[in-house]
C-alpha cells in the first residue's frame, strides 16, 4: 500500500468538474510535483487533501487512514502540513508567534494551567521554542524573529510560511506554488530547501508548481493535469515529452 494515495477523487461545482476522477499515489520520501495550466485543478486537489473542500466522490488515504473522514483541523494531527498559494500568515503577529502556532498540534497543556502559567507550561514553551529555533536556523530566518509579518517583504513571507509548516513536524508537506513571486535567487534557495527537507528531515513532499526549472531540479515524479484529469505521470522528462502535455500547454 502506498504511503499517500488519492482514489478516484472528484470535486464538482455544479457542472464544472474541477477535479475529475483523479487517482495517484505518493511513496514515502518522494517529491511529487503536480503541474498543469491555470484552472487544471491543482490547488483544488490540495484543498481536498486539507479538507477545505469536501470531495464529491473518491477518497484520500494517508498511512492507511482515511483523510476524508477527518475534520479540517485534524489533518495537521495526522502529520500533513501545507502552505498556501496566496500567503495565509497571521499578519499582525510576530514571526516567532506565527511559527509557534505551527507547534499547536504538539501542545498538551490545559487552559487553566496556561492561565496560571504553571512550570509545566513554561517547560513546554521552551521545548516549542527550541524546535522553532531549529526551523529558523534551517531556513535562515534569524534576522526576522521579532518582526511583525505585516512589515515583511513577500519573499520572506513565503519562507516563513514554509517555516510554519515545518514547525508542525509534518511527515507529508503540501507546497502550493512555493516559488510564485520569488526572484531567481530566492527560487534557487527554495529548491535547495525542498531537497534538504527530503534528505535531511525525511519529509515527503507533494508540490504544485509552475516553474519548470524548479520542478525538474527537485521532483522525483511529476503528474500533469488538465481540466481536472490526469494527462500524464512519470519522471519530469517523460511528462514534458508526453504529447498530451505538449498539446495542453501549446494548444497544438
Amino acid at each position: 500500500m502506498s504511503y499517500f494515495r488519492a482514489e478516484n477523487l472528484s470535486l464538482h461545482f455544479g457542472g464544472l468538474k474541477a477535479v475529475d476522477a483523479v487517482s495517484f499515489a505518493v511513496e514515502k520520501g518522494e517529491i511529487l510535483s503536480i503541474i498543469g495550466p491555470n484552472g487544471a485543478g491543482k490547488s483544488s486537489i490540495f484543498n481536498l487533501v486539507s479538507r477545505i473542500y469536501n470531495p464529491t466522490s473518491g477518497r484520500i488515504f494517508f498511512e492507511d487512514q482515511d483523510v476524508t473522514e477527518e475534520p479540517a483541523f485534524g489533518i495537521a494531527k495526522l502529520g500533513i502540513a501545507r502552505t498556501f498559494q496566496n500567503i495565509e500568515l497571521f499578519e499582525n503577529a510576530t514571526v516567532l508567534s506565527n511559527l509557534l502556532v505551527g507547534r499547536h498540534r504538539h501542545s498538551t497543556t490545559q487552559l487553566w494551567q496556561e492561565i496560571l502559567f504553571l512550570p509545566s507550561v513554561r517547560a513546554n514553551e521552551k521545548i516549542h521554542r527550541r524546535r522553532v529555533e531549529q526551523v529558523i536556523e534551517f531556513l535562515d530566518l534569524e534576522p526576522y524573529r521579532d518582526k511583525l509579518i505585516s512589515g515583511l517583504p513577500y519573499g520572506v513571507r513565503k519562507v516563513i510560511e514554509l517555516a510554519r509548516a515545518l514547525c508542525t513536524e509534518p511527515k507529508l508537506i503540501l507546497l502550493d506554488e512555493p516559488s510564485s513571486g520569488l526572484n531567481v535567487e530566492e527560487t534557487d534557495d527554495m529548491s535547495f530547501w525542498i531537497r534538504d527537507m527530503k534528505t535531511e528531515l525525511g519529509i515527503t513532499v507533494l508540490m504544485v508548481e509552475h516553474d519548470m526549472t524548479l520542478v525538474n531540479r527537485v521532483s522525483d515524479r511529476v503528474i500533469a493535469l488538465n481540466y481536472g484529469k490526469v494527462l500524464a505521470m512519470g519522471s519530469p522528462a517523460e511528462v514534458q515529452r508526453h504529447p498530451d502535455v505538449v498539446a495542453a500547454y501549446l494548444g497544438a
Binding site: 486539507s50 477545505i52 475534520p71 479540517a72 483541523f73 485534524g74 489533518i75 495537521a76 494531527k77 502540513a81 501545507r82 498556501f84 495565509e88 500568515l89 497571521f90 499578519e91 499582525n92 503577529a93 516567532l96 508567534s97 509557534l100 502556532v101 505551527g102 507547534r103 499547536h104 498540534r105 501542545s107 497543556t109 487552559l111 496556561e114 492561565i115 496560571l116 502559567f117 507550561v121 513554561r122 514553551e125 521552551k126 521554542r129 527550541r130 529555533e133 511583525l148 505585516s150 512589515g151 510554519r164 508542525t168
Partner: protein
C-alpha cells in the same frame, strides 16, 4: 537606545523583558498602594470604576482584540454577573462563593452564546450579540420573582471574613485592583501559551489556523467563555460599587462604552484597556465640567469682542441649551470613535508606543515607521 541581548529561550517568555519594566511597574504599584489614603474620596471612587471598566475591557479584548470576534453584548454579561451576586447575596451566600459562581455562570452563558456565533462573521455577529443583550435585558425586566423587574435590586455591602467592606473603603478599592491585576496577568499568561496564540491565529486567518491543527470552533467558544467569565467577575464588583442594580443600567449604551474602552485604549494590549477605561470614566465629569463652565466662558469671550450684555446672555443660554441637549454624549462618543478609527486605529496605547519610539530613536525617527502596521479587527476574510 536599549539593545536586548537574549541568551536564553526564557528571555522570550518572561513578562518583563528587562529591568526597566520592573522599575516603572514598581512605581505604579507604589502609587496605587497609597492612592486611597491620599487622594480625595471622589477620585478614589472614580479609580474603582476605572478598575472595573478595565477588567471588562481586558475580557472584551480577549474576544474582540485577540480572537477577532466583535461583541456588543458585554453589558449583558456584566448584568448576569451583577444579578447573580445580588440574588445569591439574599440567601447569605459568602462573598467568595457567589463571586466564583457569578464568574462561572457568566462563562457558561458566554459559551452558549459562542455556539450559535460560530456560524456568524463580522457585522452579523455584532447583530447577534446585540440581540442577545436585548434578550437578557428583557429577561431581567420580566423575571420579577428573581430580579424584581424594573424595581431593581438593592445590593448589600460586601461581607468578607466577618467584616463589612463598604463600597467606598480602601479595602474595596484594593479588591477591585487585585481582580484587575489578576485578570491582566492571567491574560498575559494566556497570550504566551498555545491557547492565546490560537486566538490570534483565528483572528488573522481561520483557514491557516485550521491547517495548523487549531480547532477553530472550540477555540472561539473558549474565547467567548473566558471573555464572558471575566466580565461576570467584574459584574459582581460593579453591583457592589453601585449598591443598586436595575435592568436599565445594562443597555446597549454600556456595551458601546466597553467597545470604546478597547477601541480608544488600543485593542492589542491590556495597557489599552486601562487607558481606555480611564478615558471612559473621566469623560463624564469632563463633559459635566464643560456643560457648567463653557457657556459662561464663551459668553465672556463674546463680551470681550464687543458683544452687548444682552447678546452675551443670549449666547450663554443658547450654548447651555446645546450642551444639555439629549444625546449629546452619544454624539460625542460617535465622533471620538470615528476619529480614532481614522487617525489612530492602534488607540492611545499605540500612540504612546510611537511617542516612546520617537525618543528612543531620536533624531532618527521616520514618520513611515508605522505606515504598514495598521491593525484592523479582521472578521470578514477567510471563513
Amino acid at each position: 537606545m536599549r539593545f536586548m541581548f537574549k541568551t536564553d529561550y526564557e528571555d522570550d517568555i518572561k513578562l518583563f523583558p528587562h529591568g526597566g519594566y520592573i522599575v516603572t511597574y514598581g512605581i505604579l504599584l507604589a502609587f496605587l498602594a497609597v492612592a486611597p489614603f491620599v487622594l480625595s474620596s471622589y477620585l478614589v471612587s472614580q479609580m474603582v470604576f476605572v478598575f472595573i471598566y478595565a477588567t471588562v475591557g481586558v475580557g472584551l479584548m480577549i474576544l474582540t482584540g485577540f480572537t477577532g470576534q466583535a461583541s456588543l453584548g458585554h453589558a449583558a454579561f456584566l448584568a448576569i454577573g451583577a444579578y447573580t451576586a445580588a440574588y445569591l447575596q439574599q440567601y447569605n451566600v459568602p462573598f467568595p462563593v457567589y463571586f466564583l459562581v457569578a464568574g462561572v455562570l457568566t462563562g457558561v452563558v458566554g459559551a452558549m452564546v459562542g455556539f450559535p456565533a460560530l456560524r456568524l462573521q463580522g457585522i452579523y455577529l455584532v447583530i447577534a450579540t446585540i440581540s442577545f443583550a436585548f434578550i437578557i435585558e428583557e429577561i431581567l425586566a420580566r423575571w420579577e420573582s428573581v430580579t424584581h423587574g424594573n424595581e431593581g435590586m438593592r445590593v448589600k455591602a460586601l461581607q468578607f471574613l466577618g467584616t463589612t467592606v463598604s463600597r467606598d473603603s480602601p479595602s474595596f478599592y484594593f479588591l477591585c485592583l487585585a481582580v484587575l491585576a489578576l485578570t491582566i496577568v492571567g491574560t498575559l499568561n494566556l497570550l504566551r501559551s498555545p491557547t492565546g496564540r490560537a486566538f490570534v491565529a483565528i483572528r488573522d486567518s481561520e483557514t491557516a489556523a485550521r491547517s495548523m491543527g487549531v480547532n477553530v470552533s472550540l477555540y472561539k467558544v473558549k474565547s467567548f467563555a473566558i471573555s464572558a467569565a471575566i466580565t461576570g467577575f467584574a459584574g459582581v464588583l460593579f453591583a457592589h460599587k453601585l449598591s443598586f442594580i436595575s435592568p436599565e443600567m445594562f443597555t446597549l449604551q454600556l456595551s458601546i462604552e466597553f467597545i470604546i474602552v478597547i477601541l480608544i485604549g488600543g485593542a492589542f494590549s491590556p495597557h489599552g484597556a486601562v487607558l481606555g477605561a480611564i478615558f471612559i470614566v473621566m469623560i463624564d465629569p469632563f463633559l459635566t465640567y464643560l456643560k457648567d463652565d463653557v457657556p459662561g466662558m464663551i459668553a465672556a469671550v463674546a463680551a470681550a469682542f464687543g458683544a452687548g450684555a444682552e447678546m452675551a446672555a443670549k449666547i450663554q443660554s443658547n450654548v447651555a441649551a446645546f450642551a444639555s441637549a439629549n444625546g449629546l454624549k452619544g454624539a460625542i462618543y460617535g465622533v471620538i470613535i470615528v476619529l480614532f478609527v481614522l487617525f489612530e486605529p492602534l488607540g492611545l496605547y499605540g500612540r504612546w508606543l510611537k511617542i516612546k519610539l520617537f525618543f528612543q530613536l531620536f533624531p532618527l525617527y521616520k514618520r513611515a515607521t508605522f505606515k504598514r502596521q495598521k491593525i484592523y479587527v479582521k472578521s470578514e476574510r477567510n471563513r
